[in-house]
Symmetry: C2
Subunit: 296 residues, 2 copies
């Protein structure tokens, strides 16, 4: 049943996975941002977490893999759409965002906004493997991975390709409908033996900018409840704020451009909790980063 | 390369597709609800559209296929979680919601809330084919299909399995980030030669229940802009309203339980536009429904 074409493909795949291992050995922390339902603020969390980490002494040492093949939003939210991805040193160069954040996204490979990527799972797996193995990530302190919603091909591919992930950050909105789905995402991470860093509750209440009255548009407390039910850390709540959407549309991370807003303050507390978690869970950080120290 | 196992599988597949054709011949209108990004209100739209159509003289003649394998929300939103799906007349019986709406969803097949469906594309395609071919849909005036976000395996499977679809309803939120992704969904439908019934702009502005001030939390007008840019009908805007989330969590369609709210009134106008569109685009409705009249 084996033929030369198959052998060739198998060899190529093996080379690619070895390259992926080599590249990933230069990355200190790998964190995936996941959710159950879409539209809960995964990309928003990824982008602002990247900016926060970069600004905490990791300029030019944070990378983002936008693993949402069908709906990549990271470049738009960082204001770097249209940057060119070009061949460089046996791989491809990455787009560079604020504070030297390195970004790989399907968005850079599309000619037009309206062009959809009509791919089934195997092609998406292939693309993600290429994004990880052929991008010149260089030495990174943090690689954040923005995963599409659900527990299907893309999350599975990423989490299987990167077995030494630090953990996942889970984003949800407070509604009961979302709670059901986010529980599945947490169980999914556990099945793959990836630690859950914690749950973020986004879109948690809205304060009217005119009268100050608070409305629980998508309810409040659902993220906290899920964290308690499934015994994982709760990282914090981010309130709804029209400036967040505005900033995302303009490509300006809200934690920088509205750093005094309640949402930004809440977010920075979440970042501190994530940093604490990382510090306590990866105590033996190799001083010389290399494949030997990582594969141990 | 052919072996008996393959022949067997091919035969089974063919039988299944013939059964699917027979079942679908008894369905007058098939409408898919799609989006680019997740979390924009696809399931909300599907559920409320189903209730509106059922209440307009189509009791017991509306069905919903919840094609979101990883994050099925339709049963929760209709208050029918936990109903039993049982073998019945060479297929499976369906869950029954308000006004006799027939529902098939992965949710009915899961033992626990937190159990994820960790499936790659081919298995999902298989499940969707089964949902369509083995469910006892019976005679329906409308089958609504709630598709997961994106332009990958599930939307592709459904739209390829049902080539004689009336059209797709596209849901978006107004943000620019969402606009980019929803354009891809519209182009996707066009590539598959499925008519676009129109675009719904959900989460369009929020009116403070205390002071009446309007805040554009996710901006306003983005859906309208996409519709204009891509020359497809605009169906209307639905404002944010905390009662919508509450009703969804309680399994009560908001157009019934808060029928006097601005959101419900906006939604009913959208339903009227969809009904108009269907009336004008499918003028030759077969009086005797059968495979002959549909396959023409």
């Amino acid at each position: 049943m084996r033929d030369e074409g198959n052998d060739e493909r198998r060899k190529k795949l093996q080379e690619q996975e070895e390259q992926l291992k080599r590249r990933m050995a230069d990355v200190k922390h790998k964190i995936a941002v996941i959710s159950g339902k879409g539209g809960v603020g995964k990309s928003l969390t990824t982008v602002n977490l990247a900016v926060a980490l970069a600004s905490h002494g990791h300029t030019h040492s944070v990378g983002i893999l936008d693993a949402d093949i069908h709906g990549p939003c990271v470049p738009k939210m960082l204001g770097i759409r249209g940057q060119q991805i070009t061949p460089y040193r046996g791989g491809v160069s990455l787009a560079i965002g604020p504070l030297g954040i390195k970004v790989m996204s399907m968005d850079f490979l599309m000619e037009k906004d309206e062009s959809p990527v009509v791919w089934r799972g195997p092609l998406k797996m292939h693309a993600i493997r290429q994004f990880l193995s052929e991008s010149n990530w260089g030495r990174l302190d943090y690689l954040l991975i923005d995963l599409p919603p659900g527990t299907g091909d893309e999350p599975l591919s990423v989490l299987q390709l990167l077995p030494d992930m630090d953990g996942v950050v889970v984003v949800t909105i407070p509604s009961e409908v979302s709670q059901i789905v986010v529980k599945k995402a947490i169980t999914f991470a556990r099945m793959l033996k990836i630690p859950v860093i914690g749950v973020i509750e986004n879109m948690s209440g809205f304060v009217c900018p005119k009268c100050g009255a608070e409305t629980e548009i998508f309810n409040v407390g659902g993220g906290q409840k899920v964290a308690k039910d499934l015994d994982v850390p709760f990282l914090g709540k981010i309130p709804l704020d029209s400036r967040i959407c505005d900033d995302s549309d303009k490509g300006m991370p809200f934690i920088v451009h509205h750093s005094d807003s309640p949402a930004a303050r809440a977010f920075m507390e979440i970042v501190a909790r994530i940093e604490e978690w990382l510090a306590s869970h990866r105590q033996v950080v190799p001083s010389v980063r290399g494949s030997e120290s990582k594969s141990a």
